[in-house]
């Protein structure tokens, strides 16, 4: 029996609009896009020019600091002029999808491996095949450096975020590919180390997976965050590096390396009260517009790539985020709230709160809420204590860590455990914060500062 860890701190935000049912496949649209901003800390350098014809798996751009780390096109087609923002930063690289005869046979070959491949071979193939950016590392929550020594590889077998698709939905029909991916990853891990897989209590999706150390996690969100798994199984110390990879990317890795072609498919849950919920299967880089076409109320809706806690706001021309398997559509909350009816002295039957100052905590667990994007207050100095701690299942003092980041005290950040956290781990802290402090942004800045300073 696998080791079970009970997570007591956390909060399940019961949003309206979970997706269920059969998975329908979304055909490729007219174009796809890749956003360098999906990869924290990446400085992209274009490899192709506008008008170049690329195959699926051909390099679009690479990491300026580590040219070996390549970012590839998930489809065959014609490269467009990159969309640039302030200071000519590349916001997105678009590819017009090839159709008809051009599309067929448009796959670049990448190294094909079998089960006996060495760690060097797997690493080289991942770098060469554009699969490396599927990995992320702790510390810093960035794509790992190509030559990094990995201590452990962690895969989270469930996403506990609001409305996230289940493991069974995400990996439907792809468990073989998942197993292959695990086998390749295991080779990269130090000798005698299995891949660490954290699964949800009562989920039997992964029962037959070999070569993993299974840990069962039981509790509210963020129990599914890989950072929580790492912290409770084998925390990251200064100088150590741990890889993390999403379960669908494990399957993509398995399919790609075993077939010799770049595969990056994804099951996406279209969720939220403003969407006709659905489970969709698509190619990475598919535009949000293609995924939501005809399924989302267009006026007054915020479309989020990812979940409502950690996702990014995207419009139809943007692509699904590189690490996202969910689109959340919730109402914008731009209306002022009169204090006696909707605002701070109102009864608040529609407000979901970690505190029990709203009657909603008396409602049955099955009740779900249609939350909007209103800040529900104004930003203030830290006043309440113990709020972050109640939803932060780490042996770390979150407020002290955030304050050390705000004042830019590097030693203190390190001492207080910044190596173990990613912005997503602070998402609930940000949600519950009475003072409406932007915690995730602060933590991201702290991680970036730390990474720059350490060189």
């Amino acid at each position: 029996m696998a080791h079970t860890i009970r997570i007591r701190k956390g909060l399940d935000i019961r949003l309206k609009g979970a997706a269920s049912g059969a998975i329908s496949t979304i055909a490729l649209g007219e174009r796809i896009a890749v956003h360098p901003s999906d990869y924290a800390g990446l400085t992209p350098k274009m490899f192709v020019n506008a008008g170049d014809v690329v195959q699926c798996g051909d390099v679009l751009f690479y990491d300026k600091n580590h040219p070996e780390v390549k970012y590839v096109s998930p489809v065959a087609g014609t490269v467009q002029e990159p969309v640039r923002g302030a200071k000519r930063r590349i916001l997105s690289v678009e590819v017009i999808v090839a159709t008809g005869a051009d599309a067929a046979g448009g796959n670049r070959s990448i190294p094909q491996l079998d089960g006996s491949a060495s760690a060097e071979a797997v690493r080289a193939a991942m770098l060469e095949g554009g699969l490396w950016p599927m990995l992320r590392q702790r510390p810093f929550d960035v794509v790992p450096e190509p030559d990094c020594i990995v201590r452990d590889i962690f895969v989270s077998g469930f996403d506990s975020a609001p409305l996230a698709p289940s493991a069974a939905q995400q990996l439907e029909g792809r468990l073989d590919a998942f197993q292959k991916g695990i086998d390749f990853l295991r080779v990269c891990a130090p000798k005698d180390r299995n891949v660490q897989l954290g699964v949800s209590a009562g989920d039997d999706t992964f029962n037959d997976v070999q070569g993993v150390d299974l840990t069962v996690f039981n509790g509210p969100h963020p129990a599914g965050n890989v950072g929580v798994h790492i912290h409770h199984v084998a925390p990251v110390n200064a100088g150590e590096t741990v890889w993390t990879i999403a379960m669908q990317d494990v399957a993509n890795l398995g399919d790609s390396l075993s077939s010799g072609t770049y595969v990056n498919r994804r099951v996406v849950a279209l969720t939220g009260s403003r969407a006709q919920t659905a489970l969709l299967s698509c190619t990475a880089g598919t535009l949000i517009g293609d995924l939501t076409a005809g399924r989302v109320e267009s006026v007054g809706t915020r479309v989020i790539s990812g979940n409502a806690l950690t996702g990014v706001q995207r419009d139809g021309k943007d692509a699904l985020g590189a690490f996202h398997h969910q689109i959340t559509c919730i109402p914008e909350g731009e209306d002022p709230q009169f204090f006696l009816t909707k605002g701070w002295m109102g009864p608040g039957f529609d407000k979901f709160s970690a505190s029990r100052t709203f009657p909603t905590w008396l409602m049955p667990k099955s009740a779900s809420f249609d939350l909007n994007t209103n800040l529900n207050g104004e930003e203030r100095a830290f006043v309440m204590s113990g709020q972050y701690e109640a939803v932060f299942p780490f042996d770390i003092y979150p407020v002290h860590l955030v304050k050390s980041i705000i004042v830019g005290d590097l030693d203190r950040m390190e001492q207080l455990g910044i190596y173990e956290v990613a912005p997503e781990d602070f998402a609930l802290c940000e949600y519950v914060c009475t003072s409406k402090i932007a915690t995730q942004k602060t933590v991201r800045e702290g991680l970036d500062t730390m990474r720059t300073e350490l060189g």
Partner: protein, 411 residues
């Protein structure tokens, strides 16, 4: 409500914005507008949804938790007044409903001016600071403004309340940067200010609403002196237990006495307005703990600290004061009020869970210790909490340092 909002936006706001006649008062306008309407501001980074709670709702929850103590305090002012007057046949044994309206009226006439002065003066200071520094008006004073009257003696002159409020808001809060930045509890600072500046009025001697005029002949009777329980007890320190005066005083605390355990818990004894009734304070504590606004760890450890100190004194039994049973000890004075409403102030308390236990326990312990060891400070709770406010960052420092050390050792 849309119409009201539109009216404010189009007709009122222009006067306060750049170029308007009242643009210097923009923060005041902004404070009032955000009081009426939570802005339609949406999330723009990080989480897209936010908890319904904000600082205003937090503060109003605390104010609601204070309402039982406030109502009881109002009644008790009237009750004590009629008792001291020995008029209309009011006795301790009367049911609570006897002369209810009359008592409430007397109480309300006493307490409403205090509340008005406290809020009026405090908010005025806040507004001035906000306007001069250009930051928004923060909600901290919503609670402080209610706490200040509740920890005042009934007969405190209004100008003293005003002065203390000004002192507390400026010195305890605004100089540190406003709500969320202060080191000392604002309401307790107000009280400490009066305690040291005007000891005569705060000494614990005259706590019963003064009798304005006696009915017979309109003679002015100058204040019926009714010592508080702690004032009485302070007189026993240094006296032999067997002393007859001491025995008389201790008789007040025996069953059936004016300050027996039952009266102390129900609160029908003289004292600061909000502090006397354990039951009313307990109701407030339930609201605070239930909603998660007040920290149960601090309240629990504070009570524990007081009980432990009371128990140790009880074992030593060197004087009559020490001999008081621990439960009776913590039921008297401002101990419970301090535990529930003062020590739990999240800004001035410790912020780590372990720290909260230490902080609460020590504050409770010191409250009883100061009270018994130093009869000049009958209200040890105030001193103890203020002292622990100052120590709180140090406690947190060591708790966090322990966490850092354990992480360093993990390698």
């Amino acid at each position: 409500m849309k119409a009201l909002h539109n009216f404010i936006e189009t007709r009122v706001k222009p006067h306060f914005t750049e170029g308007g006649k009242l643009s210097r008062l923009y923060v005041v306008y902004d404070g009032l507008e955000t009081f009426l309407f939570t802005p339609g501001e949406t999330t723009n980074s990080g989480t897209h949804i936010r908890d319904g709670i904000d600082l205003k709702r937090t503060m109003i929850t605390v104010v609601m938790a204070l309402v039982p103590a406030l109502l009881f305090g109002t009644w008790n002012i009237g009750h004590q007044y009629y008792l001291s007057l020995a008029e209309g046949g009011v006795t301790v044994a009367d049911p609570w409903s006897a002369m209810f309206l009359a008592k409430m009226t007397v109480g309300a006439l006493k307490i409403l001016p205090l509340i008005v002065v406290s809020y009026g003066v405090g908010l005025a200071v806040e507004f001035i600071f906000a306007a001069s520094r250009g930051h928004g008006i923060h909600e901290g004073f919503l609670v402080s403004g209610m706490l200040i009257p509740l920890i005042m003696p009934v007969d405190i002159p209004l100008w003293m309340v005003a002065l203390a409020t000004v002192f507390a808001v400026i010195v305890a809060k605004e100089v540190f940067g406003g709500t969320g930045m202060n080191i000392l509890n604002v309401a307790l600072t107000a009280r400490a200010f009066l305690f040291f500046s005007y000891p005569k009025q705060m000494s614990g001697e005259i706590w019963v609403a003064e009798v304005a005029s006696s009915k017979a002949g309109g003679l002015l009777v100058d204040g019926t002196t009714g010592a508080t329980a702690l004032g009485e007890l302070a007189n026993t320190v240094g006296q032999p237990i067997a002393d007859s005066a001491t025995q008389t005083i201790m008789g007040l605390f025996a069953d059936g006495g004016a300050y027996d355990l039952m009266s102390s818990l129900v609160g029908t004894i003289p004292g600061s307005i909000g502090e006397t009734s354990a039951i009313a304070i307990g109701m407030g504590a339930l609201i605070l703990i239930w909603t998660g606004i007040g920290n149960w760890r601090i309240i629990t450890s504070f009570l524990l600290g007081g009980l432990v100190m009371g128990w140790i004194f009880n074992l030593m039994d060197l004087n009559a004061y020490m001999g008081l049973p621990p439960l009776h000890q913590i039921a008297l004075g401002g101990f419970l009020f301090g535990a529930v409403f003062m020590a739990t102030d999240p800004v001035t308390a410790t912020q780590t869970r372990k720290g909260m236990w230490i902080y609460g326990f020590l504050a409770g312990l010191l409250s009883i210790m100061i009270r018994v060891f130093n009869p000049a400070y009958p209200e040890g709770v105030m001193m103890a909490i203020l002292f622990m406010n100052v120590m709180a960052p140090t406690i947190d420092h060591y708790v966090v340092q322990a966490n850092i050390n354990s992480r360093a050792k993990r390698k």
